[in-house]
């Protein structure tokens, strides 16, 4: 007779948040990603306390100093200085503020507009749906960076406009996602049941259907944030983002091109900063996706 002593019988199924957290925790990469991005957020928020120097201050006598450990470095400038003698570490920290702010803003606005348009498109159908989809197709037809450059050329290069441009460029993904999710949900019986019991359209959209579309949307929001940071850095690289002297990682990279051979750390640092930030968000987003998608879990 098989012995049940070896079987550790669980007593109750885990609640939804516990189940989610357990699944998320299993993914080591996701946890690491979450940790790193939290650190970066912390640094960005407290940059004015943590940064050793003012990011805009130019130390004329100390230009192009290498980072600690290399010959000629100065312990006051841990990561070295750029061509104008500005402390690289401080500029990176303040730059985190810019990039994270852009990323978060784009994500929030994209979600809001995406949900509004996507739900409208799915619920009202007909000509409204066609128009919205066609506009999204149009946005997708023009290569993203090209469109962003065009938008910025029209409204002028600065931080706010970068957010607007990057949001517009990334909008189709959100709208299509919400629309597709909503359309699928609309075919399900619980929606018909709600309609039959007299739930009005707006309430139907927001309270009945929207919560069921949230899982892929949350994943898209996380990944969208990382895309936004990359896109904004691209604009910054081309000189179309936040204007100098604001420290923006992409712009810092553009400035470093001339120094590439003599002072490679000026180029390596901002790039690594972008890479680390985006990578940790993506790791976290991956973990979110795996934890929220029941099919990919073990059981």
């Amino acid at each position: 007779m098989p012995s049940d002593a070896a079987l550790k019988t669980p007593t109750a199924p885990p609640g939804p948040f516990t189940a989610f957290w357990r699944a998320f925790r299993e993914n080591r990469g996701a946890v690491i990603g979450l940790t790193i991005i939290s650190i970066i957020f912390f640094v960005a928020i407290f940059a004015n306390v943590l940064a050793p120097h003012d990011p805009l201050e130019q130390y004329r006598g100390f230009t192009r100093l290498p980072p600690i450990g290399m010959e000629g470095s100065d312990p006051r400038f841990l990561l070295g200085t750029d061509a104008l003698g500005r402390d690289l570490l401080s500029r990176l920290m303040y730059g985190a503020r810019v990039s994270l702010f852009i990323g978060l803003s784009v994500m929030v606005v994209s979600m809001a507009v995406g949900i509004a348009l996507g739900l409208t498109s799915a619920f009202f159908g007909g000509i409204v749906d066609v128009i919205i989809i066609r506009i999204m197709d149009l946005i997708m037809a023009i290569p993203s960076l090209v469109l962003a450059i065009l938008i910025v050329a029209i409204i002028g290069p600065n931080l706010t406009n970068t957010i607007i441009a990057v949001t517009i460029v990334g909008l189709p993904r959100y709208v299509r996602l919400v629309r597709a999710s909503a359309l699928t949900e609309l075919t399900k019986d619980y929606v018909t049941a709600a309609k039959v019991s007299g739930v009005r359209k707006f309430r139907l959209m927001t309270v009945t259907v929207l919560p069921n579309c949230l899982a892929p949307l949350i994943v898209q929001a996380a990944l969208g944030m990382s895309d936004a940071i990359l896109e904004a850095a691209g604009l910054g690289f081309l000189g179309l983002g936040a204007q100098p002297p604001t420290p923006e990682w992409g712009a810092m990279l553009a400035d470093s091109r001339d120094l590439m051979l003599q002072a490679p750390w000026v180029m390596a640092a901002p790039g690594l900063a972008i890479l680390t930030t985006v990578l940790s968000i993506n790791l976290m987003g991956d973990g979110l996706r795996d934890a929220l998608d029941p099919r990919l879990r073990r059981s």
Partner: protein
């Protein structure tokens, strides 16, 4: 099949017209028209400015300008570049082969490495290869590609001296008439010794840089698609028939798994054009991406307008081809409607 093609083609027409409209409006919205910029030039009198305005048709009412513009396009006239004074269509297609060649190489790189990588990762799920691969892929599309390009140039070209820094071909050593515009083909046709390898040499870094993001996306997509397909009933049936593992995965699963990958491939093509802008800027690759960016800074609005319209149209057409391909490999779509 033909009806399917025709239907899809017709559906793209409104998008095309909308594109024309949007590019026209947006260019007009950019502050500072090309004539204004020349106001401060020496010897330019207000009359001369008005003359130039008239030449460019900028004094006409907006709707007339638009009508003329559309009329021109339908006749193949996309306008003339202010800077180079050559027809834009001509200029575009002179530069386009460079971008096309780079894009094709990047795509071959991405698919050739990405699909096998994804398949292997899926079949060894959870193992060290799977985790390592997926992390690398994730890192691949988390990088700003302009930085990746600069790092590669720094390491490979400057430090190790393995690859050239910029351009498509070493003009000092080799010169040959462009026949197709594709360096790989032209160098072979020219018959000059070493020309082909020189062209290849110049293509290596830009291909890797441009192809990194599609490679990462395709590898991940293939893996997740394979994982889903491997759970399907028909894969279980294939195993129950006693087929070898490589046959189950490589034949039965892969065919079905590739279907969503084709869709992703299509989306990547649009992204390629965007990536081309940055890649070409870094490697001084004489393609349409670089030309577009330069047009902005030089305020060459007709070029910008025409360029965006042309690139977007090409992206739409390529997506159409992808849709067709999708219909071909998925029998269910073929037989529907």
């Amino acid at each position: 099949m033909f009806r399917f093609l025709l239907k899809r083609l017709l559906l793209t027409l409104p998008t095309f017209f909308a594109l024309m409209f949007v590019t026209f409006i947006m260019i007009r919205l950019v502050p500072g028209d090309p004539i204004e910029v020349r106001r401060g030039e020496r010897g330019i009198s207000p009359e001369r400015l008005a003359e130039l305005r008239h030449e460019m048709g900028l004094d006409q009412p907006i709707w007339k300008q638009f009508f003329d513009y559309v009329w021109g396009i339908l006749h193949g006239d996309f306008g003339t570049s202010i800077i180079s004074k050559t027809p834009i269509l001509h200029e575009f297609f002179t530069l386009f082969p460079a971008t096309l060649e780079l894009s094709i190489c990047a795509m071959i790189f991405a698919v050739g490495l990405g699909v096998p990588a994804g398949v292997i990762a899926a079949s060894r799920r959870g193992g060290i290869y799977d985790q390592g691969l997926m992390f690398t892929a994730l890192a691949g599309y988390s990088m700003p590609i302009f930085w990746w390009g600069l790092i590669l140039i720094l390491v490979m070209s400057n430090t190790l001296g393995l690859t050239p820094v910029s351009g498509r071909v070493d003009l000092i050593k080799y010169y040959y008439e462009p026949v197709t515009g594709f360096m790989l083909i032209d160098s072979l046709l020219s018959g000059q010794k070493g020309a082909f390898w020189d062209a290849v040499h110049h293509l290596i870094l830009p291909t890797i840089v441009l192809g990194t993001v599609p490679l990462a996306v395709i590898a991940r997509m293939t893996r997740s698609s394979m994982l889903e397909v491997l759970e399907e009933d028909y894969v279980r049936t294939a195993r129950a028939k006693g087929l070898s593992s490589s046959r189950v995965i490589g034949v039965h699963a892969l065919r079905n798994a590739l279907i969503p990958v084709v869709t992703v491939f299509g989306l990547q093509v649009g992204g390629l054009m965007a990536g081309a802008v940055l890649t070409e800027t870094i490697f001084s690759w004489p393609g349409v991406g670089k030309w577009l960016v330069e047009s902005i800074s030089r305020r060459d609005y007709p070029a910008l307008q025409g360029g965006i319209l042309l690139i977007s149209t090409i992206v739409i057409l390529i997506n159409l081809c992808i849709d067709l391909l999708y219909g071909l490999i998925n029998p269910r779509i073929r037989h529907a409607k």
